[in-house]
């Protein structure tokens, strides 16, 4: 007999087992958090879920959340790869500032805009190479290695602004602004760009040996090296990925405001990106890359921000709410804290 007899007693544990298996799935917690936030929003502001078509594009709070979350989500995807290799990249905000400055500078120098797009991405790649050099070749602790560019990157952006000869230069670029605030058919272009980046990274991480090596190096650099993986090269490339992702976000953010503002552009985005990775189930200890979870994490952060704004609470509450969410997520992920809670709860398992 292949199947067990369909008697009542086994079905009940089977269901709870299945529930438990679902509850253990890493995507469940961020997805539940997102659902909870959205449901609360639905009650607080009627018409929250309505999606209309205005001026030939999709319009509504849900689209708005996706739209605004996109730059952070892209940065967070790159961050997820770096964190997967047991690293961290604090310099992403500065990379965004540098990209913005490069874009404004080259537009005023009169380069073709497609070349400028490549130059901006190239600037991000260059920053990634610098970080990779420090971490993989000089073996400096990732937090500190990327702190160097974080501290000086905005200064570099200001210097590039000075080459062009002004502060916060603004510009117009049909191509770049089309990528950022335009739309193809009904869908905002940046969502398509974001989906493209996600797909490319997903293929890289899940369908190539490189992806396997990334997680292997994060799990145990020594073991990976003994198994014949060039751990340094893998770590190095992770920072290239992160630099490129940050540059892509930089293009979107700079074109959105069509101004290069190195001091405040992408400020604190590194913290949001790291948060998105952690909410998405990624551990800072490395070894795992959850791209889907990271996207969910970025959406949770943006949904929180949007719902604080739409609920009429002052925007100042945003940071505190964010902090509380981080702490709750971290405590949920900690075995010790869960055990403490379970032992306090009366009558539950032990």
């Amino acid at each position: 007999m292949n199947r067990p007899a369909p008697s009542p007693p086994p079905t009940k544990p089977a269901l709870s087992d299945r529930l438990r298996a679902v509850a253990r799935h890493r995507m469940v917690w961020p997805a539940l958090a997102l659902a909870l936030i959205l449901i609360v929003d639905g009650f607080v502001s009627p018409g929250f879920f309505a999606i209309r078509i205005v001026e030939g594009r999709l319009f509504g709070s849900l689209i708005d959340i996706l739209y605004r979350a996109m730059p952070t989500a892209v940065v967070a995807l790159g961050m997820a790869v770096v964190i997967g290799t047991k690293g961290i990249d604090l310099s992403v905000g500065s990379i965004i500032a540098i990209c913005g400055a490069v874009i404004a500078w080259r537009i005023h120098a009169g380069d073709p805009h497609f070349v400028i797009l490549l130059l901006a991405l190239g600037a991000g790649l260059l920053c990634g190479m610098w970080n990779g050099l420090l971490v993989a070749v000089l073996e400096i602790q990732p937090i500190i290695a990327t702190l160097i560019l974080m501290v000086s990157g905005r200064g570099i952006g200001l210097m590039i602004n000075l080459i062009y000869g002004g502060t916060n230069p603004s510009f117009t670029s049909p191509l770049l602004q089309g990528l950022s605030v335009g739309h193809i058919g009904l869908v905002p272009t940046r969502l398509i760009v974001g989906a493209g980046i996600f797909l490319a990274l997903w293929l890289l991480v899940r369908r190539t040996a490189f992806g396997l090596f990334l997680e292997a190096v994060g799990g145990s650099p020594r073991a990976a090296r003994l198994a014949g993986v060039n751990a340094r090269l893998i770590q190095y490339s992770a920072y290239l990925v992160s630099g490129l992702c940050a540059a892509a976000a930089g293009v979107i953010l700079t074109a959105d405001t069509h101004t290069s503002d190195p001091v405040s552009e992408g400020l604190y985005i590194e913290l949001d990106a790291i948060l998105a990775v952690v909410i998405g189930g990624g551990s800072l200890a490395g070894g795992r890359i959850y791209l889907g979870g990271t996207i969910l994490g970025a959406l949770v952060i943006q949904a929180l921000t949007t719902s604080i704004l739409t609920s009429g609470l002052p925007p100042e509450y945003n940071l505190v709410v964010k902090a509380v969410v981080v702490i709750v997520v971290l405590l949920l992920q900690s075995a010790n804290a869960r055990a403490a809670v379970v032992s306090v709860l009366p009558g539950r398992r032990k």
Binding site: I88, L134, L138, E139, I140, Q141, I143, I144, A145, L147, I148, L149, M150, V151, S152, G153, R154, G155, I156, L158, M159, L162, L271, I274, L275, V278, L284, A285, P314, E316, Y317, N318, L319, V320, V321, K322, A323, V324, V326, I327, L330, L331, Q333, S334, A335, N336, A337
Partner: protein, 320 residues
């Protein structure tokens, strides 16, 4: 000279070289006035950095420093408006800082979460709390505040030692005593050097970690008090990015980021180097703020690479 003093010696050498270079380049640079100004202007960062030195010596990190400085100032300003004496509110906020740090330390140890992310949550929480209390700068009007800001000791030459600099030097002396003449200090170095060995040798892990972060919180709250008194206001954006300056000061001061190696005294010189760079750039006049950021990053890079090779050579020697 023992090798372990090399990073500290390098720090002091860089400070002296920068100072002499400034003196050769600009008139009126070689004066106790400049030294006194650097000490007074950077006192709050250096005080916070003293606490960070302990955290980094133990192999951890604390990102909540800047927000703590802002939060302390905002609360003190509001209590001042409610009629509290600044010393009373300062004492309360320093106790709060220690308690907040202790809580961070407890979560870090109990939940086995990286200090980076917990103190990041602390950064958000305290900065958000600042904004919830006030959005604008609130003045501190108590006469004590003005008296504190005016109090100073004359130095030989034109210079003077401002009260904030005096508080900083006292805090530094206390930090040095704690680091080198107490059991707790030895425990900090032991945990930073090798966590597993320290635990096996009977270092009380949880208690020490909690104390380390409590000390970090206490020093950043003290930094916040000094900042609030020095500027006689509470501003919700105060101290933004001070955690980076504090970490940079500790690293420039010769403390190894891997933990276990370094001196609290070095942090004073690390902070002074950062202040000296800003002063040099101000004296130049033609350079702008961008240079402060870039040169700060560059120095950080040089020091980290220097440390890297020092550690590499020490390790190579101990291996043979």
């Amino acid at each position: 000279m023992s090798e372990k003093y090399l990073p500290l010696a390098a720090t002091i050498a860089v400070f002296l070289i920068l100072f002499v270079a400034g003196g050769l380049l600009y008139n009126n640079f070689f004066s106790t006035l400049v030294i006194g100004d650097i000490l007074a202007d950077n006192a709050f960062v250096i005080i916070a950095a003293i606490g960070t030195t302990f955290v980094i010596l133990s192999g951890g990190i604390d990102l909540s420093i800047g927000s703590m400085i802002g939060f302390v100032g905002v609360v003190m300003a509001n209590l001042d408006a409610a009629g509290w004496h600044p010393l009373a509110s300062a004492a309360m906020m320093i106790a709060f800082g220690a308690g907040f740090g202790a809580l961070q330390g407890f979560i870090i140890d109990f939940c086995e979460i990286q200090p980076f992310i917990i103190t990041l949550a602390g950064l958000f929480l305290l900065r958000g709390a600042c904004f919830m209390i006030n959005l604008d700068a609130v003045p501190l009007r108590h006469p004590f505040v003005a008296a504190f800001a005016d109090a100073s000791l004359p130095l030989p030459g034109d210079g003077f030692l401002a009260s904030s600099a005096i508080v900083m030097l006292v805090a530094l002396a206390a930090g040095i005593v704690i680091a080198h003449w107490t059991k707790f200090g030895a425990d900090v170095y032991a945990i930073g050097g090798d966590r597993a060995s320290a635990a096996l040798m009977g270092v009380p892990m949880r208690r020490t970690i909690v104390k380390i972060y409590a000390l970090g919180g206490l020093y950043s709250a003290l930094g916040g008090v000094v900042y609030a008194l020095y500027t006689s206001s509470g501003y919700p954006l105060a101290g933004q990015g001070a955690e980076l300056s504090a970490i940079a000061a500790v690293v420039l001061g010769g403390t190894l980021l891997t933990g276990g190696v370094g001196y609290v005294a070095g942090t004073l010189f690390g902070g002074m180097i950062l202040g000296l760079i800003a002063t040099l750039i101000n004296f130049n006049g033609s350079l702008n703020g961008a240079w402060i950021m870039i040169s700060g990053g560059l120095l950080l890079f040089l020091f980290i690479v220097l440390q890297r090779f020092l550690v590499g050579s020490l390790r190579a020697r101990s291996a043979t």
